[in-house]
């Protein structure tokens, strides 16, 4: 019975043709799965960049956010790789380097080959923060302390094998000092609380959240793990290279949309054409800037190249672990 229906619907789809299907697409709301909880940075940004999806010049249908949090994102991406429909009505937010690092580490059901990127909306570099009363004022102070007291410098971050962890690993490698990375449950907000409350000596966090915390007078930002300084939000904070640590932008948290493998090419093409336009909307840009979230719009080809490059780099970095 089920087979019969499957055959029937398949032949129907073939008869009407993929192009016609993509022509109607989307004729109902599209869902975007976020692998982190409601209120987190990824969730917050995903809600903003998709808010104009219902406009005529965007998808013409609203986008609904579904949260599937757990285990640093593994739960959501596992579900997306194995159970999501590949009819174009299921999209997901990706976080690079998180999902790539997790797939290299193993124990998950996805890799870069399981997903088709659509477009990138933001790039949130990792920064190193300390409490406002901390004795550390520069990255050099921090590294000097870690060298003098191996295994005594505690660094909080959002979890294992996420951007923060990658940055911490790079700092440890570049400085040659032994530090203790403390993954928190509950994402960047919990890691931030640990720094402000003095539970840990320092922390790695998102640029956007750290910028706000500094505005509120709660933390000092010592360095940013990116190739250039962030002119828009933190022009006075040096990069790791300037601070004498040879660290590139591999830990920058890229966020964007993707669909599962097997989604019809016609639908991918349509999304690839329209989603970057939606991200570039003026109202979106205004809200993102108000929230302190740096934007970086990249098209599908650029994202594919970025995924490939990150994969090669992370495979090397994580080999010893």
């Amino acid at each position: 019975m089920k087979k019969l229906i499957a055959t029937l619907s398949l032949s129907l789809a073939l008869a009407t043709g993929g192009a016609a299907l993509a022509g109607d697409y989307p004729d109902r709301p599209v869902s975007v799965m976020v692998s982190y909880g409601a209120g987190g940075a990824t969730d917050f940004q995903a809600r903003i960049v998709t808010m104009v999806a219902g406009n005529k010049d965007a998808l013409g249908q609203p986008i609904v956010i579904i949260n599937k949090p757990g285990a640093g994102g593994r739960v959501g991406w596992n579900w997306f790789a194995t159970s999501a429909n590949n009819d174009g009505y299921s999209m997901a937010a990706y976080n690079v380097p998180h999902f790539i690092a997790q797939s290299i580490k193993g124990g998950v059901k996805y890799s870069t080959d399981s997903f088709e990127p659509i477009a990138n909306w933001g790039a949130d570099p990792a920064v190193v923060i300390v409490g406002k009363d901390s004795k550390f004022n520069t990255m050099q102070d921090l590294v000097a302390f870690a060298k003098a007291n191996p295994g005594k410098l505690t660094l909080s971050g959002a979890g294992l094998f996420v951007g923060h962890h990658i940055a911490a690993l790079q700092i440890e490698k570049a400085s040659g000092a032994k530090m203790v990375y403390i993954p928190t449950k509950g994402g960047g907000a919990a890691a931030m609380k640990a720094v402000i409350a003095g539970d840990v000596l320092a922390g790695v966090n998102n640029l956007s959240d750290a910028y706000r915390a500094r505005q509120a007078g709660n933390v000092k930002i010592l360095g940013v793990a990116d190739l250039q300084r962030n002119k828009e939000f933190l022009p006075d904070v040096p990069t790791m290279k300037e601070a004498g640590l040879d660290i590139d932008n591999s830990s920058v948290n890229f966020r964007g949309l993707m669909v599962p493998k097997g989604t019809p090419q016609a639908i991918i093409d349509k999304l690839v054409a329209q989603v970057p336009v939606m991200f570039a909307n003026k109202r979106v840009a205004k809200r993102m800037k108000a929230g302190g979230s740096p934007m970086k719009i990249m098209n599908r080809a650029e994202v594919q190249a970025m995924w490939k490059e990150r994969k090669a780099f992370l495979a090397g970095l994580l080999k010893g672990l």
């Binding site: 209120g39 956010i65 949260n67 505690t154």
Partner: protein, 506 residues
């Protein structure tokens, strides 16, 4: 007293309209199973894009307070706690509804919600800087001990048997560990694909409470018994108010416990209701009446879960640290307007911040008015024929469990847990401690692991977990709680044996 001068902002036409709309909408969303306050507030965020900052916050604040209270409706009438905050309300509230006292239970729930809620917001207004310091004092070791304290509550919660209560809690703790381990990402106890995401707390909650209820209704078969003709008693407002005031002890325990627990970041309101319920019972001279439809149970639970709302915003508004998932979503509502909370929030954005807080006070009053209006209508649900009620609750449970994460796996987990719970309940196990275990497991585990890592870099685990005033105080509470539970089961057993002996003699 600065907050008084901003009341006029709340009464501007658009603001007032939003406040009323948010309150009514929040009550309805809160009463929908599967829709937690966090989800409800997140759903409303897109609406606030088009509003002024203060108006957007009024909407979100109204929705937050009223969804927490609205959860009481389904908890009392259908025994489906829509969110963990309403578990304790269901324990006595549903028994009251079954006796035809649904209207009274709902009145008490809304009135004590408002009392707790208003006191909570007043704490937020007057004590914010002091409270913020307290909130930061809780590090991983303290949160670990708080979770353990919660676990010790388990043994005495809603179970006649001490062993089976603790055992139910252990089953809950075990269930909470299913799925990917949160820190390392290792697979634990994953038997089928539906479990890879772990057991979702809301879906589990619906299954554990609603499904046994449905099966119990089905077990009576088709026969219409005399028991069915429940007379739904009309309840006058003054009578409800008098009843609440006469239960001052439960009301104050609920408010105090709720305020304190709401303040602690990371524990949140999930367990405020349960802990307050347990404390109210321990201090009550009528301990045995709890669980049989006792007004004190509803009052303590509901005053606690709304009292937690105000203090839970303290870390958010002063330090920009969201202490609960709902606070995190509210933070998003502030950020899209470019408002960064922090110690200078009340200086830089005084109009927005105070209007928001004032609207939460007015919102509590509106919530009582609208809540009581629907209470009188909704209480008639006890007269709905059993077959319709059973089928309706079941379908609602399925829809609710599905919509949490739009996952069929959650529905499967929900029904399997529900059927298992029905059988377990027949043997003296109970759902409330099991859920408490499910909530506290991850809190205890992650803080234990974090604490151990930090301790390793400092002076070792013994010093980190066992020294310091706050640690020692919490440990003392744990010891007192266990000692009390043991002592009270011993005395009650002795009484039971005595009464049985006298029964034999007769």
């Amino acid at each position: 007293m600065e907050f008084l001068s901003y009341f006029s902002h709340v009464f501007e036409p658009v603001s007032l309209l939003l406040l009323i709309g948010g309150t009514i909408g929040g009550l309805i969303l809160g009463a929908t199973p599967g829709l937690s306050p966090t989800m409800a507030v997140a759903l409303l965020i897109p609406f606030t894009f088009h509003l002024q900052p203060s108006q957007g916050l009024i909407l979100l604040g109204a929705a937050y307070t009223s969804t927490v209270a609205g959860g009481a409706v389904s908890a009392i009438l259908l025994k489906i706690p829509g969110a963990p905050a309403n578990i304790a309300t269901a324990l006595d509230g549903n028994e009251m509804a079954k006796k035809g006292e649904g209207a009274k239970a709902l009145h008490l729930a809304f009135m004590s919600s408002a009392v707790g809620g208003i006191i909570g917001v007043l704490l937020l207004i007057f004590l914010t800087p002091t409270l913020a310091k307290w909130a930061l004092a809780f590090g991983p070791s303290h949160l670990f001990w708080i979770a353990i304290l919660g676990v010790t509550v388990i043994g005495t919660l809603d179970s006649k048997s001490f062993v089976k209560g603790l055992l139910s809690g252990c089953i809950g703790l075990w269930l909470s560990m299913i799925g990917y381990d949160d820190i390392q990402g290792a697979e634990r106890f994953i038997f089928t694909d539906a479990l890879t995401g772990g057991i979702n707390i809301i879906a589990a909650l619906i299954g554990l409470f609603a499904i046994p209820q449905v099966l119990d209704m089905l077990s009576k078969g088709r026969a219409r018994s005399a028991m069915d003709a429940i007379e739904v008693r009309h309840q006058s407002l003054t009578a409800s108010f008098k009843e609440m005031v006469s239960n001052m002890r439960a009301l104050s325990i609920g408010t105090v416990v709720g305020s304190i627990i709401g303040l602690i970041p990371g524990v949140g309101g999930q367990i405020a209701g349960l802990v307050a319920y347990d404390q109210a019972r321990k201090f009550s001279p009528e301990k045995d009446k709890f669980g049989t439809g006792h007004a004190e149970g509803v009052i303590a639970a509901e005053s606690a879960n709304n009292a937690m709302v105000g203090p839970s915003l303290v870390p958010l508004l002063t330090l920009s640290i969201p202490g609960s998932p709902t606070a995190a979503v509210l933070l998003g509502g502030l950020l899209i307007h470019g408002i960064f909370p922090g110690s200078d929030l009340f200086k830089n954005h005084a109009a927005v911040a105070w209007t928001f807080i004032d609207s939460m006070l007015i919102g509590q009053v509106l919530m009582v008015i609208f809540g009581i209006y629907i209470a009188n209508l909704a209480a008639k649900i006890a007269q709905v024929p059993r077959s319709i009620l059973a089928a309706g609750v079941f379908i609602l449970a399925v829809f609710g469990a599905y919509s949490v994460q739009q996952s069929m796996g959650d529905v499967h987990v929900m029904i399997v847990l529900g059927i298992a719970m029905y059988v377990l309940e027949k043997f003296g196990f109970s759902a409330a401690p099991l859920v408490l275990g499910l909530i506290l497991g991850p809190i205890a585990e992650s803080n234990f692991l974090q604490g151990s890592l930090i301790a390793g870099a400092q002076d070792g685990a013994v010093i980190y977990f066992l020294t310091g005033y706050l640690n020692l105080f919490l440990i003392a509470l744990v010891v007192a709680s266990v000692g009390y539970a043991f002592w009270s089961t011993m005395t009650s057993r002795r009484e039971l044996e005595k009464s049985q002996k006298s029964g034999l003699m007769r």
